[in-house]
Symmetry: C2
Subunit: 460 residues, 2 copies
Amino acid sequence: MEKLIDELRNIVGMENLLTQREDMITYSYDAAVLDPVVPAAAVMPENSQELGQIVSLCSRTRTPLTVRGAGTNLSGGTIPSGESGIVVLTGKMNRILEINEADMYAVVQPGVVTAALAAEVEKRGLFYPPDPGSQAVSTIGGNVAENAGGLRGLKYGVTKDYVMGISFFDAMGEHVKSGSRTVKCATGYNLSGLMVGSEGTLGVMDEIILKLIPLPRARKSMVAVYGSIEKASETVAAIIANKIVPATLEILDNFTIRAVEAYSRAGLPVDAGALLLIEVDGHPGQVEDEGTEVEALCRKLGAESIKVATDDSERDKIWAARRSALSALAKLKPTLVLEDATVPRSKIPDMVRELQKIAAKYKIDIGTFGHAGDGNLHPTILTDKRNKEEWHRVESAIEEIFDTALALGGTLSGEHGTGLAKAPFLEKETGMSSIIFSRRLRKAMDPHGILNPGKITGDV
Amino acid sequence: MEKLIDELRNIVGMENLLTQREDMITYSYDAAVLDPVVPAAAVMPENSQELGQIVSLCSRTRTPLTVRGAGTNLSGGTIPSGESGIVVLTGKMNRILEINEADMYAVVQPGVVTAALAAEVEKRGLFYPPDPGSQAVSTIGGNVAENAGGLRGLKYGVTKDYVMGISFFDAMGEHVKSGSRTVKCATGYNLSGLMVGSEGTLGVMDEIILKLIPLPRARKSMVAVYGSIEKASETVAAIIANKIVPATLEILDNFTIRAVEAYSRAGLPVDAGALLLIEVDGHPGQVEDEGTEVEALCRKLGAESIKVATDDSERDKIWAARRSALSALAKLKPTLVLEDATVPRSKIPDMVRELQKIAAKYKIDIGTFGHAGDGNLHPTILTDKRNKEEWHRVESAIEEIFDTALALGGTLSGEHGTGLAKAPFLEKETGMSSIIFSRRLRKAMDPHGILNPGKITGDV
């Protein structure tokens, strides 16, 4: 181990190597509710060359390696694999290498913060739509590794839909290029597509080419207040059924509304059964028409009041309230389990009903909010993991949430990945053949199991 | 071999097994300019169960298997692998299994014809945008296997962007599921993404889930006539630089215009240096604005005249002319080589200039047309392969076209795949590490090399 540390120091220098106990504890966990695992060291490469040398060293010495961006992931994808493993931090590989306005793409290093890229391209009239909840700190590398989603998924898709190319070091330390700076590319396998969502298990990325689109010329945000969450969720299904695809279409239940209000004093109606937070965007004429149609649908389906943001500051207040939901809920109890089960959007009313039943059955608090427009709810369980009896009920509830989502034609994870947290449940969704196929693939690409072991498929 | 034929007959029945010499010749080639290879038999499974049995049989007997939709692919992806190999025809697995309007997706078998699906969803106010040139006969299975593009790539993306899930039989005959009916899915590896563009080398698909979007409410088509192709191609770059992304933005050079006019008598201006065929779509207000802006840009950059289609029949005439380009050029000489080299869109003027130089240098006829708006030109070489001396010049010209595209930051293939035709050139673009990685992946997923051998990576 000492020899490994020496070699790492030789590659990145003293100032970019961390081995102190307190640092190791910092990198022993992420946003998932899982037991921490302390690594041997953490390194901060400053460029592709150093990164490649680190991967080669790990390959040669069979050292398990977990890459970490901001550690915001919710499925344990960045939990190290044990005391013999190291963590590679991408924080110093945070340069935007190119923003090409004429061809509408960006080339970035993995450590670029999502919101920083979004702001940079927006200055040029361009748009990078994926906006995961953690965008203020999350990194593009982490977003790609987890195939992060966000509020705009229903209209604009997820990270996967913006990845044009990725270059990465494979488990042997070889530098592999895939994809292109062109809109169309059908050369070789779609290795970039395979890398998206692979949670650091197939390679270590050093450059990512991202598609950009023109910034929408107009947008309109509104909040619709409902007496019951059933009516709100029926409105969600009705909007899509009317072939309107808003940029965002979010729901907050009463539990979440009260938590947010207590946390942020945003002026939310604490007696409301549910809120819909909606934004339409695009050409000004489209925004006008869609805004009017959405408002009419909300009223028709029972909204008690609708408030349309009249300027940017009112708009920002709406979305700040939504974005504070997770932090607000986290204040209430020691342990927060943020689930991610997703259903076809027309099944949102059914899913909401089932979640209420599950909360009652297991006598637990579930705050439900999330991306109703793309079927991606975040039922959030508030508990205290130290209370073993309650935690047992929580575990049963989680499994029942998974089963319910699958029974409704949905998926275990819309945007939070599989990681360690959902690996044991994967078979429920995909069947065993898919897992065997995936393990075979992984074993071939990483025969010594050094790349983020245990994630997605469990141990290979 | 007789035993194999007997077993195939047991699976699909006499009426779905072809072994006659004349049938075998039919399935010995595709739209690529490559030597035909005659297979041992062709089978037409009628359902997933039969398809799975065929793959299992091939797995057990180590029989090479090439899946064929309409055989329109241009890189040799459907050329059988020799007399010991069989061809699996998807023509009888052509059912649309589900069109879900509320959740905007379709589930189809691989043999569904692209245009048939597009028409079916359009009746419901929905839109399946990918429109490869061969859409009237090409199949969704073939489109997915080749990651087919089309005219709408610049605004709407390619086949890859619409695949939500794929189920397939792997090389062992196991049935693997990936993806979901939900807009977001981050469960397990993105195996659907890997399957797209894998040209039948990683599995045999039996069901594909496709994303649909609302049909644009309005559209406007126009033809801009230019004295020179340089001015036309500069207009392409200027439109995108002005952050307008038309639904289609096609170019035809003088050579192609004359060929199309001779073939179809569409009334094209045969003296024009080049034509741009443009369609904008979306909200009526957006169409109005973008139409006006595009028209102004065309004039500013030297268009001699612009004709806007005033009704659907005029619109259809424009696109019928464009779609006849390949057939029209094919009439001129015995051999047609349709290239697919693609560059970042801002490099279209450079690429056009280089293509003219290459045509002059090698004294060959190159008709250039294609999807200028996404950088995906189709320089089309007209020749006679039996003329060995000329064919040699053609081969040199093709290699120079590839080198030019790569030097301009482009790719060997925008939408026609790698197949057999481009496999020898792959290293030029991706480097050897990427090929080694891909071969390793392939070997693991298909250890006996039965799935469409030789394509993409060459022999493993």
